[in-house]
């Protein structure tokens, strides 16, 4: 029943899947990991990006180009969301934590129900030349769409890591995560930097959304499952660590793929949440924690 080949296949597929999970989670790694915003709605924004891609795709636009086109729109949207969050919660202080959580939970719920009202509960998918084909690698057949999302995810992670470590604004974002009062003393405006960073995180979510709908069909309730995956990756990585996000994404992808092969698809949703609970219980600071 269980063979070595099957395991190799599972691991290979898991690595591809893991890179995709990294792409889905890396925006959250910025907004939650670096900025400490309780952004439960991140996966909902990713699904929103998928539906944006679907809409643009119905005009014949390639899904990846659609994702790139959506990025500036989502960037502005993200800046607005952060500004609003800052003005209503962070600035007032008090029990901002509880209310901020409830706020983003409500936003995620509104996005989900809004998508159901607009598009219905049916699954949607996009068409492109590379969807539906596969290449063979020895005995194993790998769908090209997985390779496309793998490449895009790697590129995205690399670019974001470079941006955060090499550019002036990127370093400022890291600085605001480490010591906000110090940044203020040096004459920088932490709110503007955070707003910018949240915009980037949301723009990345748009591209992740287009990858999501390339990898498979999307329905409005999908965000819920990805809450587990995204937070699992970010917490396992250790908050705010970009390279950690890649490692954690791969860990999740491989474990999910192995569980899928051994026990069947119906157990898959429990994997990410199970790892998440385990990490929270045993090592809350994650693999590469600060």
């Amino acid at each position: 029943m269980f063979s070595f080949d099957l395991l190799v296949d599972a691991i290979l597929f898991g690595l591809l899947l893991g890179c995709f999970y990294t792409a889905v989670s890396i925006g959250l790694s910025v907004s939650f990991g670096l900025l400490d915003v309780p952004h439960i709605a991140h996966p909902a924004f990713v699904v929103l990006g998928s539906y944006g891609t679907y809409l643009l795709g119905s005009y014949g636009l390639d899904p990846i180009i659609a994702g790139v086109v959506l990025m500036p729109v989502f960037f502005l949207f993200g800046m607005l969301v952060y500004r609003f969050y800052y003005e209503t919660f962070e600035k007032r202080g008090g029990d901002a934590g509880v209310r901020g959580l409830a706020f983003f939970f409500g936003i995620a719920f509104i996005v989900e129900v809004g998508l159901i009202l607009a598009f219905g509960v049916d699954q949607r998918m996009v068409e492109a030349s590379y969807i539906g084909k596969s290449v063979s690698l020895g005995e194993t057949r790998i769908p090209v769409r997985m390779l496309v999302s793998f490449g895009m995810a790697l590129l995205l992670t690399l670019l974001l890591t470079l941006y955060l470590s090499k550019t002036f604004t990127g370093r400022a974002i890291k600085a605001v995560a480490q010591d906000e009062p110090a940044l203020r003393l040096m004459g920088a405006n932490p709110v503007r930097i955070k707003q910018w960073a949240f915009g980037i995180a949301t723009a990345v979510a748009a591209l992740a959304g287009s990858l999501l709908i390339i990898v498979g069909p999307v329905d409005p309730g999908l965000g819920r499952v990805y809450i587990g995956r995204a937070f699992c990756v970010v917490v396992l990585a250790g908050l705010g660590s970009m390279s950690g996000t890649l490692v954690a994404g791969l860990v999740l992808g491989v474990s999910e793929s192995i569980v899928l092969t051994l026990f069947g698809a119906s157990w898959a949703p429990a994997v990410s949440f199970g790892i998440l609970l385990l990490v929270l219980g045993v090592r809350p600071q994650g693999l590469f924690g600060r």
């Binding site: 309780p38 934590g97 939970f105 719920f109 009202l117 949703p269 949440f273 609970l277």
Partner: protein
């Protein structure tokens, strides 16, 4: 209630008795069967919102996993019906015991963590339990399970009427428990945790024990009201028993009503539950759940103290205006005297 209570408890208990009496009277007098069908759902939300508020409102730990406790209650009932054919009372007691144990378990695992991590862990528990039930053949797996209702018990005309009264009893019980916690030393401890956990710990508040107790009580109540779902719907499936709608509603209702007192969740649940029922009958589709989400965001942003807070503010403003009017009279006289 002990005599050491600062405020008199008599009005509360009279109110509780009247509520129960009204529910019982309605069960015999009201003709329309749909009233009980809808009323049951509203009462169910009173229990869920009140239970959520014990941990979320008093201690400030946001539980996103109400559906985990609710669904566990429903499935404990299914198990007992299928294996022992146990009566409803046994189902409810067993469900609340399991709910309390689950609450302590989740609490032990996550209560050392703050804020968002606790919240995400509760979602995780909900999804994991749903997945387990989905793969569990004995309780019907993902397709669900049909339940045969036993014959209705004597004084009641229909099963729905009886279950409506059961929900009313559970609702009054939940509110009484929440009120007891709120006015006792436990409530003070939980509020201290919400305001500043380190300070509370340093001044000798047993924070972990208190949080675990709150988790247990909250979980027990949520699972207890989950148990009658099996009989109410005579059909249970994981997707609806573990539905996110319960989690969102249980969180939205106390926040909309006001989280600082036991009255807030009751007001929120009665108001939102009724609105939802009315919207469900008048507009088809998912609008009724959208209402909850939108109201949640509106209140969290605009009126964080909820309806109770708004009422208090209004009262204060009226009093201030009255005081001002009293002060202005002599003041205008004196200003007329001066040149």
């Amino acid at each position: 209630m002990t005599a050491s209570q600062p405020r008199s408890s008599a009005p509360f208990w009279i109110g509780a008795a009247i509520t129960l009496g009204l529910a019982l009277a309605a069960a015999f007098m009201v003709k329309n069967e749909y009233f009980f069908f809808a009323g049951y759902v509203v009462l169910q939300f009173v229990v869920l919102a009140t239970a959520w508020n014990i941990l979320g409102g008093y201690a400030g730990y946001v539980n996103f996993g109400t559906s985990a406790f609710f669904g566990v209650g429903a499935y404990i009932a299914v198990m007992l019906i299928k294996s022992l054919n146990a009566p409803l009372a046994v189902q409810i007691v067993a469900a609340s015991a399991v709910g309390a144990a689950l609450g302590v378990g989740v609490g032990l695992l996550t209560l050392r963590l703050r804020g968002i991590f606790f919240s995400i862990a509760t979602i995780a528990v909900a999804i994991i339990l749903e997945t387990v039930v989905n793969n569990w053949r004995f309780v019907g797996g993902s397709t669900g399970v049909q339940i045969m209702r036993p014959p209705v018990m004597e004084p009641f005309e229909s099963y729905t009427r009886m279950i409506f009264v059961v929900a009313a009893i559970l609702a009054v019980l939940a509110v009484a428990v929440a009120r007891y916690i709120e006015t006792s030393w436990m409530g003070r401890g939980l509020r201290a945790i919400r305001d500043n956990e380190e300070a509370a710990e340093c001044t000798g508040v047993p924070t972990l024990k208190l949080k675990l107790a709150a988790c247990a009580v909250s979980g027990a109540l949520m699972s207890a009201i989950g148990a009658p779902l099996a009989m109410y719907q005579s059909f249970v499936e994981p997707a609806s028993a573990f539905s996110l709608n319960y989690s969102v509603s249980a969180l939205a209702m106390p926040i909309i009503g006001g989280t600082s007192t036991w009255l807030g969740p009751v007001i929120g649940a009665l108001l939102l539950g009724t609105i939802q029922q009315v919207v469900t009958v008048t507009i088809p589709g998912s609008i009724n759940v959208l209402v909850v989400g939108v109201l949640l965001v509106v209140f969290v942003v605009g009126a964080p103290e909820g309806i109770i807070g708004l009422a208090r503010k209004l009262r204060r403003r009226i009093e201030a205006r009255r005081l001002e009017a009293r002060r202005l009279k002599p003041a205008s006289k004196s200003s007329a005297d001066s040149p």
